[in-house]
Amino acid sequence: MMKLKTILATTALAALMASPALAQQISVKAGVLNDRSGLYADLSGEGSVIAARLAVEDFKAAEKGIKVEIVSADHQNKPDVGSTIARQWYDQDGVDLILDVPTSSVALAVNQITKEKNKIHINSGAASSDLTGKACTPNTIHWTYDTYALAQGTGGAMVKAGGDSWFFLTADYAFGHALERDATEVITKNGGKVLGAVRTPFPGTDFSSFLLQAQASKAKVIGLANAGGDTINSIKQAGEFGIVAGGQKLAGLLVFASDVHALGLQTAQGLVLTEAFYWDTNDQTRAWSERFAKLNNGKKPTMVQAGVYSGLLHYLKAVEAAKSKDTATVMAKMKEMPTDDPLFGKGTVRADGRKMHDMYLFEVKKPSESKGPWDYYKQLAVLPADKAFRPLSESECPLVKK
């Protein structure tokens, strides 16, 4: 039913010609479930489907006798819509794995259903560190980033760089609270202190009152524990009230390249943020992003879209190695094999489902420093994977708890 853009990545003919050697052919159906019309459509959306297609292409699935079909759907950022689609995909449409799924609430729902139906979920879009914590399952891999890593990156690095007093603008819902909590922990651990926090109604449009409170706190850093439209509006209004010009720094705890693109450098300059991937990191990322942008109306990939590519590629490698798409076998292979791809380099998948790779701390360039469109970040620091993600010893995940 939800077979919207059913793309047969390999035609039957190609498969027939390519693999006379392989006796049995494995056919895999991957569902890209994300926001295609709402707030997160730019950072995931159709771009993630393109990324998935590129993964199939680069894996040369046809030559290896694996037939891959990609379907996609819009979950509208609503857990009920997302879980309905996921259920239907697994029950009716024979989908083997679900990719992407931004918005933590939807991700947690899909995570649950995937476990129930014993399929595979490789999450790239969602932030909640619960996916590999309290809510971890043997069926889910959390690929790209999480709240813990964002807090480590932005919080830890800012304190080290001298930003040792903080004031939070926290979106008043579970996700905002989680971001604030994780960041506070990191800040105090690194010797900084949190002067205060204000809970802003979610979703909000006017943040001036809260920004004024933040300004009055005289904190060196104003942490934005919010996402999407809230972040964009608060950054915009911070510019209006001359907050950055007044010497305070803004730290976005969840900001994507697509948000910076929407804000424009004039408004976003000086913002400090953490990402797992930036298109302009090395020759390989640049080459891939170039290909991607051609297919995506010139827009460069976000870390979420890059994560979908990398995740699906690793899955396909595991299927090839296991010569099967049995869930338990493939999951075991994925956790056993090291990951390696042009976008994230070498990495591993941990027992709790956490994909391990480095994270980067960036500062948004001034308009004068930018050489052209999409030239947005300068790199401030690299966080090695073992520092970026929550260590297993602190994990709440029942899979690894002794």
Binding site: A41, R199, T205, D206, S209, G229, G242
Partner: protein, 295 residues
């Protein structure tokens, strides 16, 4: 330095001022709703969508035609107002003899269509719109840093509200309008073209919404959903004020903006709900609203 409930008075003044700024949006929007309701007896559910259209038209003027903010401030209400006139003529007028609730449902449907179309074309992440150069920067008032643009918003909306009030309460045209509200048949009999008056009134109410949209564009991001949630709050404002008087709508709008602003300081968690709580309290005491006539 003495403190007021734990907040230094300077900060409090700042917050009061910010509250007034938000109140100006409530005031213009509830004023538009009240004007439309007065004559057409329908609640214009599309008001939020029309507010959003105002912001978008300003954005389009700038990005497609190179028309600056000041021209857009006039042009956008005009364009959206004409759009409103067409809607009234071809859709709402068809419901004139039916229960007014059908008008509510119709405008609700229109709001869905407008918002959906803009979402399809421009996505939901919002588009940037810069503050006009003349209003960049701000004044240091001693107790707070007031961005020039915010000051302009309060001033402009106050003027618009008062001019509207004057037009309706003190001019001949306004007198016709009030007469048509009281008794359309009789007014028609006196040779006044009531259907035309109705159409123009709707167009004017819509233009007010669009004006608020243009004012909002540089502060908030221009976003297809910007009106959807705001309009519900404005409904509550209207219920609190009662639909009876123009002045009532203006005063309630600014007043509730103020109350909301103060809530943001003392108990930010409740700032989204405070208006609804006030609404319940007002309903318990005065079911017709603060300025409304009892039904």
């Amino acid at each position: 330095m003495f403190e007021l409930l734990g907040i230094p008075p300077q900060a409090l003044f700042g917050q009061v001022l910010l509250g007034l700024i938000n109140g100006s949006f409530y005031a213009i929007l509830s004023l538009g709703l009240a004007v439309i309701f007065g004559l057409l007896n329908i609640i214009n559910f599309a008001h939020g969508a029309q507010y959003m259209m105002g912001a978008f038209v300003a954005w389009m003027c700038l990005n497609y035609l190179g028309i600056n903010y000041w021209a857009a401030l006039l042009l956008a209400p005009l364009i959206v107002g004409v759009f409103g006139v067409l809607i009234e003529r071809f859709l709402i007028a068809k419901l004139a003899n039916l229960d007014h609730l059908y008008g509510l449902l119709l405008t609700f449907g229109l709001a869905l269509i407008i918002q959906g179309l803009f979402r399809n074309n421009y996505g939901s992440s919002g588009l940037p719109y810069q503050i006009p150069d003349a209003l960049k920067g701000g004044q240091n008032l001693g107790f707070m840093f007031l961005p020039n643009y915010r000051g302009w918003v309060v001033g402009a909306s106050l003027v618009v509200c008062l001019v509207t009030w004057f037009m309706i309460e003190k001019t001949r045209l306004g007198a016709y309008l009030r007469a048509a509200t009281e008794n359309p048949t009789l007014t028609q009999a006196f040779g006044i073209n009531v259907p035309l008056l109705v159409t123009l009134t709707y167009g004017f109410g819509v233009a007010l919404a669009a004006f608020a949209g243009v004012l909002a564009a540089p502060i908030y991001s221009v976003n297809p959903n910007m009106g959807a949630d705001l309009i519900i709050v404005v409904f509550a404002v209207v219920v609190i004020g009662g639909m009876g008087s123009i002045m009532g709508a203006i005063v309630t709008g600014f007043g509730l903006g103020l109350v909301e602003g103060l809530t943001k300081v003392f108990y930010p968690e409740a700032s989204a709900t405070v208006i609804f709580i006030i609404m319940v309290l007002v309903l318990l005491v005065k079911p017709a609203g603060l300025f409304g006539r009892a039904a």
